[in-house]
Every structure is written in C-alpha cells, then in structure tokens.
Symmetry: D2
Subunit: 261 residues, 4 copies
C-alpha cells in the first residue's frame, strides 16, 4: 500500500463547522540547545506546538509538528523561535501558530565568601505566538530564592522564619536583547538572598545574615521585580508571580503583578 | 506580650508604591463538601484565595484567608462560593477577590451491559472572581474518556488505535442551574466512549465496539463539546481543551476551542 | 451475546511459564473513610491492589479488584484492611495479596498562643501484605514541619535559616493500637517546631522563637523519631525519612533510618 | 571571620547515639552526559547522593556531595558511577555510600514504512550502592509502548482497545557491558508495538495492524521481559514493572516480576 492510496481523513469536512483556536501536539520532549547568557547550552525541553484550524477542515496533520522539531537545529532564542513559528504556520497553511517550550537551565554561581563554584538550576520558558503575521515572543524564568519574613523578624525577640520562594517572571520582548540570565538577576535582586548550590560554612554565615538584613514579603518581592521591569525598555509587558513555601505553614503565600498592557 | 503590643508590619508603607493584582494563599488543602448532581458530597480540595492590594499598603493579612476557609461550613456551589468571595473581600477590605478550588469527585456509573456499578473519578474546579462588586463564577471538569483514531481505522485493514483522552471544560455560569455532572455528560457524549471503573467481559465487548463505531479526533471531540455548550443558555462563555494521550506516541494530541466572549 | 459464550482469555495458558509476583490495578481513586484519632473521617484515597499469579495462569481478573473496593464499606483501619486483604486473596484464589492506600488527612490544631483553630493537612498511607496466610500491616504518614539549621545559628551573629521539612514515618504494626495521629505527634515532637494552618501575630512570634531555640539537622530529627519508635511496642519495625527543603539551596537535605528487622 | 574560627557543629556528638543508614542531598539537578548506545549524550539529571553516618557523629558535610558532582566531568556509566561512588565514600570517610540518578534520554527511531526519523524519549536511571568495599550498579529504563488487549480483541466482533503502557526495567549488572538502549529493545520487543515520535500515514497503518496482530496483557509483557533477562548473563538480577494506562478505565493495570536473588 502506498501513501497515495491511503485516504486523508484529516482533509474531509467536520461534522460541526466550527473554527478551532489551537490544535497540535503537547508534552513532546526533545533535547535542544537554548541561548543562555549569550551561549548555546544543551538541555531537554518539553514542547507544545499548535496552529489554528479553519471551520471547514476536519483535522490538522500532527506528524508535521514533529517534523518541524526534528528538523530544528538552531539554539532556541527569541529570533530562532520566531523563525520556527513562521515555518510551522507556513507548513500547515495556518493563520495563527504558537510554540511553548519549557526547560531546566543552569548558571555557574560563586559562593559569596569562599568563591566556590557550582551550577544553580532554574526553569526557563519561551512562548511564541503568531497572529496575522505578527510574532510575539515571551521569555520566562522560575527562580528559587531565599525569603525571610519581615513580620516574624519584627515581632520576635530573636530569629525570623525563612523559606524557599519561587519568583516567576514572564516578559514580552520589547526593544533590545533580553537574556534569561538577566531575568534571573532581577528575581534574585528582589529576594532576601539568592540561592546557591554550594556553600561552605563561611558562605552559609554570610547568606544567613544577608537574608536577616533584608526581610521581604511576597508583596515586597513582587513589587521590586515589577519596578525593575517597568523601567526596562526590553520588557514590552510582563507578569511576576512570587510564591513562598512558608516554613511555618504547609501552604504557600503568593503575590502577582501584571503590567498594564 | 499581647497582640496589641506587636507591630503590624503589613500596615506600614511599601518601598515601591505599586498596586498588587493578587495576593493571598495558595495550595491550601481542606476537606469540604461539593454539590455534585444536586447532593453535597465530601471531598478534599486544594484552594487558592487572593485579593487585590492597594499601592500604599505593604501587605495583606494572610491568616484571614485561612480563617475564612476554617469558618466556611456550606457545600461548595456557585452560590456559596460567591458568598464566600464577598465575605473575603469585605474581611480584607479589598476591591477585588478571587477563589480557585480544585478537587476530585465521583459519579456512580452502571456498566452498559451487566449493569455492575462503581464510582468513576473526575477532577472538578470552581473559580470565582469579584471585581467592583460583580462576582463571576466558572465551573470546570476534567473527564477521562476513550478516543479511537478515525485515521487509523480508515487506513488499516483491521484494528484502530485507541487511548485515554482527557476532556477539560470550563464554563462561566449564565442562566439557570449548572451542575458538574452535566459537564461530565457533555464531555462523555463527545468522545468515542465514556470510561468506566468496572467492566465485566460483556461490557468490555460493548465499549470496544462502541468506540470502534464512533472514532473521534481531538478536533472532533472539541467541536462536539463546543457545539453543545454554544446552545446551552447556562453557559455564558466556555473553553474546552481535549488531550489524547496517544497510544502510538509518547506525546499528546490536543485541541482547544474558546467561545467568543 | 451472553457472558457464558465469551471466551475467558485470562484462563488460558501463558506463552512463558513464569510466576508473577504482583498483578492488579494501580492509581484507582476512591472516596473512603479512614480511622484518624479514633474517628472515621472522609477522604479520597489512591489505591493499588495486587495478587500473586501462578506460572500456569495467563491473567488475573482485573474487574474483581474494583468490585472489592466498590463493596468495601468500612472505615479503613489496620483491622479492616486485613479483612479486605483476605477477601481479595480468596476472591482471586491467590496465595499472596497486597493493598496500598494513600490519602490526605487533617487534624484540628490550636495555635500555641491565640488558641485559634484550623485544620492541618498530612499524607497518610496504609500498606497490607498477605503471604501464606500472614497479614502484615504498615501505617505511614508524611508530616510537614519547621526545621531550623543548627550550623547556621551557631556560625552567624544573628538569624538562622529555617525551611519546610517533611518527616515520613512507616511503622509495621506490633502490639497495641496505633493511630496515624500518634505518628504525626512523633514527627512534630522531633522537629524544630510543628506547622500550623492558622497563626495570628502572637502565635507567629511564639513559633519563630520556639524554632530558634530548638535547631535540628535532618540527622537530629531522624534520630529523635527513631529513638521514640524504638521504645514503642506498637512498632514492630519502622523506617523514617526526613527531608528539608533547604531555603538556601534548591535541593533538599535528607536522612533515613531503618530499624533492624 | 575565617573558616577556621567557625565552629563545626556537624562534628559534635549527637543527642541520640544512633547510626544513620543514609544521609545526604536529594533532588539535586545537574546537566551531565550519559553513555547511551555507546556514545556520550547530554541530558539533565536529578540526583540523590548519600552516605552512612556513624552513631557518634552528629552530621554529615552536605557541601561535599555538591562538590563531588560539580567536579564530576565524565559521562555517567556503570564504571564512572562506581568511581564517583568510591570518591564520595572516601571524601566523607563513610563505610557505605549510594548515588541515584534519573534523566531523560533519546534514541533516534525510523518509522517502520516511510523511514522518517525522529527522537523518542525514555527515562533512564542509574543506581550505585557501595557497602563494605563492594559496589553494586543497577541500570534502569522506563519505556513507553503500545499495548492492545487480548481479551478485548477475542470477545469483540471488531476492534480491540489499545493504550499507552510503560515498561520499567531495573537490572543489576552482571557479566559484560549493558547499555540503556539494550533495555529499551527488550521492553519494546515484549509489547504489542513500539512507540514512535514521528509516523506518516503508511506507518500508522503498519503499527495499527502490528499491534492488533500481537495483543498483550501486562502479564504477557512482564513475562516476555523476564524471560529475555533471565537468559542474559549481563543481568545478575532484575525487576520488571509493566503499567497499562487503560483506555477504558481511569486506573492502570500493572504487573511486576522480581527475579530470584
């Protein structure tokens, strides 16, 4: 049996004549390179790719999404993802298309006193949406940080509870070149202290006192990030979500700021 | 030390004078009752509660969110969640407030031939948002279904691959009373076959042939659900997301339709 | 077509004549009652049930596992799970059988100063294994706690990092009646401080200073739990696993002690 | 303050004089290379490292575990992980040590008719345990497969339900060189059909009919894998776990075979 003889059910007419906003593949894993701190670095991404489907077409061609990823051999960046997006839309003859990628990435960090080096892990994400010829690219990170509670410090004779927090930032790209590593810096600067993979005793002393000297609520962290991004021309718009995995509760405290469009 | 003497850091002024869209608690688990098929049934929910915070207030009072849930003793429904929402906004003196709850729920299903009964599990969710005095309530479900591929059936001499799919529906409530069980029915009617917890051999024969007789792409299922909801006055607006966990791939196929607002 | 006419493939002979250690159903969700603090309380459990299969039988009868759960109408406890286990083995004519159940549960806790009450959530689990007529039942909990680092406190001029930890305990039942609530107490007593859902300011002051006064490594917590259990005749054997979700790292510290058999 | 002046709390005596089976770090993420199909390939691993601690030592030195990983620059393999294990034990002066690594990996697969190529994703894991000088290394995989129900096929006039299954194999290394890719082959050979990332229509026809021609219960798949491994001198011992994510149920069917030690 050759392909020519096999019926193409996707091309038949649907029972209900309704346009579909997004159709494609989800949870597709692929090794790829991502541009971090200006350099291509290997990681493993989880991808979702989709296109819009007209009301009179029954189905999309799922294998083409996979072929696009299989043929993609550039490091993922704001510009390469926009090119991939246009290829995808063209290949599937679609008016709208979108790509979502999420992946772990790593930055080499020096411990603050000993200078010992190790990699800290972050979550990165890239979203690209093409609509009527316009591609909009959003870069995002999820950054673990230390947060120390200002209320606990103020009301107690000694000590103050701290915990791991996560600062999530998503930025729609504006003017200039934005790197995921830049967003990590914005997140870490807003917290009580950055997180490290490797700390010797003299470093642990340093980060303990640094955090105590800079207590921050989720509200404080969210506002600091929003303030930094609102002044940055590289951010056309942004959202910031801060979650503290409270050490005195089994639930989290969270705050979210969305920039005006 | 009495409470009166303890400083209230949350009431001080923030360093950055920015309004916060949402601040509150997340991943708070609580046993509660949910109204399913007209009856209050016990489940365990994961909750998120938040309010808007003015630009000149440093922090919200996190313990009040927990107190609201601790004091809530009604079955969760479209009307009770709206009341809880107003209480929350009033208690925290906030212009906007929101509540998100997700929880497993169960419906007793009869196997199609033997009539054997057992409970099938679904995910439910309720979202309520209050903005300037208007409460908007959204009900949602995630329903496991059987899907059988129309293309595989058509191009093969025998057989056709099937797999577990998940139909997610979220509906903003319009006119009349909407029950989570109704949304489950809409989802199951659109699939190749509903899923059961308990099937004897004669039932398995029935569902195997039922699914073969009713092949459906993610696109087909999404359109059927959208068609049913677009005719239902109880749905002011809706979104439907269909995901097939393909048995021939390790990724999923998915389709999404969002109603016009 | 009646059931009588349908072939029973499971009863045919397997291609490879090998005994199977465990075969059954997994990730079956069911609402059920669990005995907590001496009282039956509603929750939602995730269950796994299995039996051993002889080398000359091709397959087990999966629907019978579901029927057993559908017919089970007692609160889950050490004695009821042992009865369920024997029913299951008898029903499937199996020499060995096992049941694993995990579920969230809640205990009402009073804040230490204000006395405010709210529910704290824990994970519980029950495992029952039947082998040649002997049923062995294991009860387990996963308890969130506050831990404060002894090293950080000692080496810093002020402050000390704290974080959320999780103490997991599994106990094979020995002499006397053991309750999941008892295991929660053992875990909380070993930590720097218990976790609460609801804390007013005076309570937060109290738990902050309590934790600072009782710093504990994962090693310290594991040893305290092991010491308490080794003296308790209700524990025939046990394992304890402590994990601190470090606030200064994005990885966890962990320690594990297994009792001698 | 220099390190020399900072007290080393870990070296003090514990309150309870109990040996600790395992203490170390967990959920440490690191980019690394793994040997797959004889070639070093980049991936991101999640690691757990631990040592045994004597009853008279209060704590281990957590930063040394991270230093070991930071300094490890070889592709992960049965031999390199054994070397890492000995380094770790030596560095921490411990009698026992263990390392657990899990990571995604990819194999290039050709579609069965069109020959189209794309990467399929698998989960790999390596465990190494050192006890009194003896290192035991275990390699494992989790492989997605297609399974088609023999009962459904036999009792139905047409069709047969299929679903995604996962075959998990863990093998303690015996004589000769074992590769993760070999374990993938064992898993895929036992299933109704392997899974592909990219299938054109002629390929989908082929896998649909292949699976229909080779129905397999979880019991059948587990036995086929066990039979293959029991004849392989490279497997000193093994466990196999097969889980079918049933398309007609929302729970899974599973079977497990453990080799005699």
């Amino acid at each position: 049996v050759s392909t020519v003889d096999l019926p193409d059910i996707q091309r038949t007419h649907p029972e209900h004549c309704l346009a579909i906003n997004w159709v494609g593949v989800r949870d597709l894993r692929s090794p790829l390179e991502v541009e971090i701190d200006g350099r291509a670095t290997a990681t493993v991404a989880t991808l979702s790719l989709a296109v819009a489907l007209n009301s009179n077409e029954r189905g999309t061609h799922m294998s083409r999404f996979v072929e696009e990823i299989a043929a993609f051999d550039r490091p993922l960046s704001a510009s390469s993802v926009a090119d991939l997006l246009r290829d995808l839309a063209g290949r599937l003859d679609a008016r709208s298309a979108r790509i979502d990628a999420s992946f772990p990435f790593f930055l080499r960090r020096q411990a603050p006193v000993s200078g010992s080096e190790a990699l800290v892990d972050y979550e990165g994400r890239v979203r690209a949406v093409l609509d009527d010829g316009i591609a909009v690219v959003t870069l995002g990170v999820r950054v673990p940080v230390t947060s120390l509670c200002p209320c606990s410090k103020e009301i107690s004779d000694y000590g103050a509870h701290s915990q791991r927090g996560y600062v999530s930032i998503d930025v729609r790209i504006g003017d200039g070149r934005l790197d995921l590593a830049d967003l990590v810096t914005v997140a870490e600067d807003a917290a009580s202290a950055p997180i490290y993979a490797l700390l010797k005793r003299e470093d642990e002393r340093h980060v303990t006192m640094t955090a105590y000297d800079k207590p921050a609520f989720v509200e404080d962290i969210a506002r600091s990030v929003a303030m930094a991004l609102s002044k940055d021309p590289r951010a056309a718009s942004f959202s910031v979500d801060v979650e503290n995995q409270e050490s005195i509760h089994s639930h989290s405290a969270w705050a979210q700021i969305l920039s005006s469009p």
